[in-house]
Amino acid sequence: MTVDLKEKPALGRVIVITSGKGGVGKTTSAAAISAGLAKQGHRTVVIDFDVGLRNLDMTMGCERRVVFDFINVIQGDARLKQALIRDKRLENLSILPTSQTRDKDALTKEGVEKVLDELKQEFDYIICDSPAGIEHGAQMAMYFADEAVVVTNPEVSSVRDSDRVLGLLSSQTKRAESEGADAVKAQVLLTRHDPARVESGEMMNVEDVLEILAVPLLGVIPESQAILRASNIGTPVVLDQPSAASRAYEDAVRRLTGEEVEMRIAGERRPGLFHRLFGRAS
């Protein structure tokens, strides 16, 4: 029932969405990126690794349809096929929710690997939504990753935590442990970026953050009302009405698939004559 297309073999790329710090936009980004990939025609699955605090289902709007979960599959109580929830908007997008009742130790390295291996046979992109922190759940989410999207806010504790996570990605992952394997390709996704506050010097700018973290930039997502609205209605922001945030996510998704897309930072324009004469609007 999942994929019976006579298509090219699945790409099977595992991408972890991580950050260290909580509340920076991991789940929002995981939802937007996976929906964005599926919208472009890639077979995509997004997995919630936040065992016990399931929230990806709400962000994706499938919370009422959860029957089996990731942990059921790991423990052999359900088949993977039964636990995958097919998105109602995009047929090539699936969601693997996590358990709301078990604890993080239910995620075993062997179990996670088995599920990921099976998913790699059918999906081009496997997006792992990491829990906050750097404990077991977060480690399991990143361990098998080929790539990482480190979600960072332009704010000191978030940047510090991102730096810590970047350290773990280069030491505590399968790629780091396998001799001869390429390192996990890590990129920063700067979220909640507020151009007005950057301009007034209240917020670190993109260059500041990149200089500190020294990894490539995947995209800059502006602070936007569209994000709360999308979460309210359970729709990934790229599937809702167009906004600066949805455009920024779509650009980031295209970069993730290897396309070269010019970095446009929403709202960040040189102040025009009008602004300079009459002060800043907003």
Binding site: E63, R64, R65, Q100, T101, L228, N232
Partner: protein, 93 residues
């Protein structure tokens, strides 16, 4: 101008209302499950029992049963699809 502003406010209010409705339905289900959101925990066992019951009469594989759930405010629906092998001569129920 005024009309436009009014329309925008309406739209925003509606998304907050949707959020509240979704949470109320979800949390009602999670809380009723004996505390820790265990409401759906019986589903794997239910599925196993269904497979066993059907196997008394027809030989089916474990993946031939599909359980779907749609939780609602007033009621939830449980949809069970059983794919029977074609030799039996009948199609999926």
């Amino acid at each position: 101008m005024n009309l436009f502003g009014f329309a925008r406010k309406q739209r925003r209010a509606r998304s907050a209302e949707t959020a509240k409705d979704r949470l109320q339905i979800l949390l009602a289900h999670e809380r009723s499950g004996g505390g820790r959101g265990g409401e759906a925990d019986y589903l794997p066992m239910l599925q196993r029992d269904i497979v066993e019951a059907i196997r008394k009469y027809v030989s089916i594989g474990e993946t031939d049963v599909e359980v779907r759930m749609e939780r609602g405010e007033q009621m939830s629906s449980l949809e069970i699809n059983v794919e029977l092998p074609s030799e039996v001569g009948s199609k999926a129920g």
